[in-house]
Symmetry: C2
Subunit: 158 residues, 2 copies
């Protein structure tokens, strides 16, 4: 990535701070993972993660506010509430898996942790990578930032 992102508008024009505003707080990723693992109820999150109840309430509210989870009271037991992933929330899967794989590789010396496998053949999923439009793996040095108008689009190139 030889070029600096254009002109110090990092904070204003970059989507990373925006993403972090939704997901950057202390427990958000762990709640998200619990959601992917099928947890849905306040008490489930609470006892599973050991998070303080007020913080959990705050984070769930925030995730709902950002459209990552959907809050729905249960019909069969009206004390209960379900928090479910929206499509927007489900689209955080690659981020979550990438972060987990990195942690697995670098931060788990000795310990073992369950691994994500393809349900079809029970083989581990591939490492999440940055790839070109046609599937070549890319590294840091293959990348540039470009403004939308500088981008070669598919039509021009094919």
């Amino acid at each position: 990535m030889g070029l600096r992102e254009p002109l110090r508008q990092l904070a204003e024009n970059c989507s990373l701070p925006a993403a972090l505003e939704a997901m950057g707080e202390r427990w958000s990723f762990l709640i998200l993972r619990a959601s992917f693992n099928g947890y849905r109820h306040f008490e489930e999150f609470q006892s599973e993660l050991g998070i303080a109840r007020n913080i959990l309430a705050n984070r769930l509210g925030r995730l709902v506010g950002h459209g990552i989870l959907e809050r729905r009271p249960c019909d069969d037991d009206r004390r209960k509430v379900e928090y479910r992933l929206t499509d927007k929330g489900k689209d955080l899967l690659p981020t979550l898996v990438a972060l987990r794989q990195w942690g697995e590789r670098y931060e788990m010396s000795g310990r073992i942790s369950p691994v994500l496998v393809d349900a079809r053949d029970h083989r581990p999923v591939a490492a999440v990578r940055v790839m070109s439009h046609d599937g070549r793996p890319l590294t840091t040095h293959d990348l540039l930032w470009a403004l939308p108008e500088e981008v070669e689009d598919a039509k021009a190139a094919e």
Copy 2:
């Protein structure tokens, strides 16, 4: 992901909390991104991100402590210090790009932001995805957690 991660050892046996311990604090990802963009010096990070100096010092120290950045005094100007990505730090690229792409898609309504392109052909990189060992795209429902001993390894399968 039909199955719950085995037996509520989420916190102990999962690499996600470990990863978040290294990268989960407020400014860590933004500092990381600045690093990928070529920023190396304290004052560069500070004026670019607008982060408070004490927090920046704390975060840089932490990232160095986790082996994500390397701290090296400059030879030519001994007031200066260089912070550079280690290989471990560079391996956070997929996580960073995945998060950015998600933010780009869902949190940038209206605004435009620079886009990551392949330096070779100036075409945008592919969306970061979770894929099977042989390159099929996988979604939430194709995934399971497995303990290492339950995994089909490459030898058995080929």
